[in-house]
Symmetry: C2
Subunit: 116 residues, 2 copies
DNA sequence: TGACGTACATAGATAATCTATGTATAATGC
DNA sequence: GCATTATACATAGATTATCTATGTACGTCA
């Protein structure tokens, strides 16, 4: 199933910051990891992800550094900052409030229990 | 808490069609109902909602008719169509898949159980 | 009579993403 | 040896979406 873009857009930063709170990732790795962990629900294209990462760096949520992989290809790694940690907490809270509200109205379910 | 616009945008049609699947609503009533049922999580402005309703009518998800209220004010009621019913089912399914994927990654929870 | 709530509508600014394209190297298959 | 695919970055431009601001109009209440 193709998920509507509008739905995905609002959660992109939450998803990226979640990954980065565990370890440093490079852009391409984020795309592959989100695709795998979501069972292909999320299939970001480079053109969608890289500008978001640049914006996040601009806003101080992440910092980046370049490093060569074993294969010799250069990668640009992103690391979450304390400000990014705060943002992550904020976005997670917003997601909870938001998804609970949608579930209540659209599924008639106050507790955010989706489909269980 | 102010919920990010991006998050809300993708679910607008799902929410509206859910209400309309129960009874006919007029625009202003949709705004008030979503605000009330979501404990003020959703606070749509007219400028945001009316263009969406017009678009939905354009796409055949709803039809509209005008009717005077007891007070004499004219209202424009929206009614869901069979195509709108299909769209509602589709959007509900998408919401389930999407929210489950976000919950799995961001909350480490495979079943979409948010905060319980 | 003035303020507020109801009820509709749209123009224009703003913001966001996606499509398409480009570069470059490594690995794989034939 | 050569072509294709995967990896890995980047950006311009088109498209699309929403929000802000504004306008109209009527009813009600103080």
């Amino acid at each position: 199933m193709k998920i509507d873009k509008g739905l995905i857009g609002g959660s992109t930063i939450l998803l990226i910051l979640t990954l980065l709170s565990e370890k440093d990732y490079y852009g391409y790795e984020i795309i592959k990891t989100l695709e795998e962990q979501s069972d292909s629900t999320f299939q970001f294209k480079e053109g969608s992800l890289y500008p978001v990462l640049h914006r996040m760096e601009n806003e101080g949520f992440v910092v980046s550094y370049r490093e060569k992989s074993e294969s010799g290809k250069e990668r640009k790694y992103y690391q979450i900052t304390p400000l990014g940690q705060e943002q992550l907490a904020e976005e997670k809270e917003q997601w909870l409030v938001f998804s609970r509200a949608v579930n209540k109205i659209a599924l008639g379910n106050e507790f955010g229990l989706a489909g269980a």
